[in-house]
Assembly symmetry: C2
Homo-oligomer: 492 residues x 2
């Protein structure tokens, strides 16, 4: 099953050879829509395959498939529109000193993209997922390194994507698939690979990031590695809605058995009566949650070990002990400790690392300075969440606490959620799914239409005769692209 | 003179502390304009200092200073306009499945930027240059690592920038300056540095790139390292205007004593009569060029050594031998060889590496296949230039040669010039000064208003109460920023 170096090479060469066929945006949009249609039509088989390999359950997988096909169609729409080509035209200006030539710039595909599939999303962040969809939208062929947790699902999805390619007249090579750890390294080091996208662990992602940077010709590596997703609950918020926040938090940490990259892993909640009520509500809701199945035994072992090690740290309590449920399941839980302990030295640093699965850490603070001290110790995150009181939300609390906390968590995260929960990552133009390292290894997003920007590079044409210009840059705008001409947006 | 680790740390901490002061875009624009005014006012002193240290001559330096202050003002205009903030607003849509929350995204500064000054541009790519201007425009304080070739010019410019900062009420720390090789490494490794910009050699740039990637928390490294800047002269172009092309090429390789990063380093010219006329014209023009002074003795030694080693390769001739002029000067020249020799094996690979100074390599081809074979061996470039015949330029040659060559060189370069020369890099929105590695280590540009994008990262706010939103993202658009709302551009 593991691809040899020669097989990786064959897949990359086939992808590389397919680049010219992807140059036509109309064909790319058709490919993405056809892929969505075929995935929908084969929905039952796809979900069955993914459920057999991941135990995520048909409910969650049905939603994930809908997200996947929505994503493919959203990228097709964005290919049609072409705003990501970022067309800029500056006409020659002989009056300037020095005189300015005619300059026309747009963005072109970076080449073959290596995609590393995630364990926790066998569809939406795997073979037919956002990295693949955005790379194809950009005009880049893709070679996916399948996740070892769902090889059959990967093969099925790759076959559907290849059928979509054939249906719109594209060569097979636009979608390659390889299996195996060694194949993943060979892939990121292949001279014809132009960029890579990754969703997974800090350890695996960092190794691939380092390999991409160490190449004779380094390539962009867009990796989503790990995130703690801190939540700050203010005293007023707890006083006003302790029960609602406790229940909401329980939902956010147990949804999908805690296997989302945006699961809140650290919650700063106040000491005192309101915080106690929050803890009571959280305890009740978490205790009521049924045990769930983690993706595989490796994940289950890592979860049980991670929870045990964390619970053994000094001063840490477990009001609801997360742990083994049945033979295959795990039960949700959470740990508590004084927030001050997190800030004083490195003893509790393990609590500042992501623990994949249905667990969170509730750190109880006694004043705002402790919040700031803990936030200052956090690494980068995909999300940060604030639960604020009504007056703080309205900027009427007198202390400006809402604005101050918003500014503090903005430093730490790529998406800030107020009075809600970070689980659920909408596919939208204004989405940003990324954040300071280790949340991501670049400043790009992997969700939403802006994800296509990762696979493009600009090229400028100077004084190029009209007959030779690509149609995207012609004066009469035959493709009707949005563009900026001499600094002004068109259509205006 | 060399900064100690403690001094680097002090400079970075002062810069880091200055971040909040740079948050106000009005102040940033004022800083950039004030800096331009002070540099203009001190023009004589600045040019004198740079001339004493670099021997570039007052003429070239006067032009470079004008470029520098133009650049500062252009970034000020772009700060006022705010398009780079890339404001996107998607309103909540409960009708979608799953329902979409309210999402508002813009771009924020990455933090303190380390700037590595270039030897060949003591102003425009050094302390007050494009990296500094674009970083300040983005809201990032800067610590510059001075180039050892012009320490006094660097100090003078840094003092003027700091005076500009004081004049607009900003702390000193927004512009730091350190000297020394070791200080440069300390800087890129400093935990509070958020990104780096570099212009220089492949060796130096690669070492810093690798250090940036190896950090516990890797940071974006935007380096411009080296470029051959190939030129292709077609048979028709040579037949139609051999003399004009020969003279133009001579100008492009001798301008500024060949010390521009976009100097053409390899020219593919046809064998035969038309190509011979081009060679004759080139010989005449290059022979007429006065000897020039290179930046320093290190550069002069590297040039003489580089030329000697290249000229000694088998089959290489030197119609005009580049070499030592007087005791301090060098004379321009060029080498020739059959293009086929470049394509057949690695014997001549040294000719595919940049040689800084007034020299180029004329590779004579016998057919179009040889052009393609040589282009296929080239690394990435900042520019590629085509000299086409009239029919080829108009797409009337029947063979589609112009379009084919344009597509081939687009693969290799960030800017394509047709029937002109790549020297002269206009500061304009549609400019792209970057290209596949080793031209640059990222897909970004270091010249033109888009250079600001290197120092920003997106952040999205989800369901954030209006009172807490940054003014850039408020519904009523109090700052009048260009933005896209629910997928539509505003102002529409």
């Amino acid at each position: 099953m593991e691809a040899t170096a020669a097989e990786v090479d064959t897949a990359v060469r086939a992808a590389h050879a397919a680049r010219p066929a992807l140059a036509d945006r109309t064909v790319r949009a058709a490919l993405l829509r056809r892929a969505a249609d075929l995935l929908d039509a084969a929905g039952e088989r796809v979900i069955e395959a993914a459920d057999a390999e991941t135990a995520l359950g048909p409910g969650r997988l049905t939603g994930e498939l809908a997200r996947t096909t929505y994503q493919l169609r959203a990228f097709a729409d964005s290919v049609d529109e072409g705003a990501f080509l970022d067309v800029l035209i500056d006409h020659a200006d002989p009056a300037l000193a020095p005189p300015r030539p005619d300059l026309r710039r747009y963005k072109i595909p970076l080449g073959t993209v290596a995609v590393y599939a995630a364990s926790n999303f066998p569809l939406a962040f795997s073979v037919p997922g956002g990295d693949t969809a955005s790379a194809l939208a950009a005009g880049c062929p893709v070679v996916v390194k399948a996740h070892p947790d769902h090889p059959a699902t990967s093969e099925l999805c790759a076959a559907l994507l290849r059928r979509a390619a054939a249906d719109v007249g594209l060569p097979d090579g636009v979608i390659g698939l390889v299996h195996g750890f060694r194949a993943g390294l060979d892939l990121v080091r292949h001279p014809l690979v132009g960029a890579a996208g990754f969703t997974g662990s800090v350890r695996g992602g960092r190794a691939l990031h380092d390999a991409a940077a160490a190449r004779p010709h380094p390539i962009p590596f867009h990796g989503e590695l790990g995130s703690l997703n801190p939540v700050v609950v203010t005293e007023s918020a707890a006083a006003e809605r302790a029960e609602e926040i406790g229940a909401g938090l329980a939902g956010a940490i147990t949804l999908g058995t805690g296997q989302f990259c945006v699961k809140p892993g650290l919650v700063l909640a106040p000491e005192g009566e309101a915080g106690d009520r929050l803890l009571t509500a959280l305890t009740a809701a978490v205790s009521d949650t049924e045990a769930g199945v983690l993706l595989d035994h490796r994940m289950r072992d890592a979860f049980l070990d991670g929870v045990r090690t964390r619970a053994a740290l000094p001063g840490v309590h477990a009001p609801v002990t997360p742990g083994a449920g049945g033979e295959h399941t795990v039960s949700a839980g959470f740990l508590t400790l004084p927030a001050a302990a997190l800030a004083e030295d490195s003893t509790h640093d393990l609590l500042l690392e992501e623990c994949f699965g249905p667990v969170t850490v509730l750190a109880r603070y006694t004043d705002e300075a402790e919040i700031a001290a803990v936030l200052a110790r956090l690494p980068g995150n995909l999300t940060a969440t604030l639960q604020l009181g009504a007056d703080e939300s309205a900027g009427r609390d007198g202390a400006g606490r809402g604005g101050r906390l918003l500014a503090d968590v903005t430093e730490l995260a790529g998406r800030v959620v107020v009075n809600g929960w970070p689980t659920g990552v909408a596919v939208a133009p204004a989405q940003h799914h990324g954040g300071p390292y280790p949340a991501t290894t670049s400043t790009a997003t992997s969700v939403g239409t802006a994800a296509v920007e990762r696979w493009l590079r600009p090229v400028a044409y100077q004084d190029t005769p009209p007959a030779l210009l690509p149609p995207e840059l012609r004066e009469d705008n035959p493709l009707g692209l949005p563009r900026r001409v001499d600094g002004r947006a068109e259509p205006a």
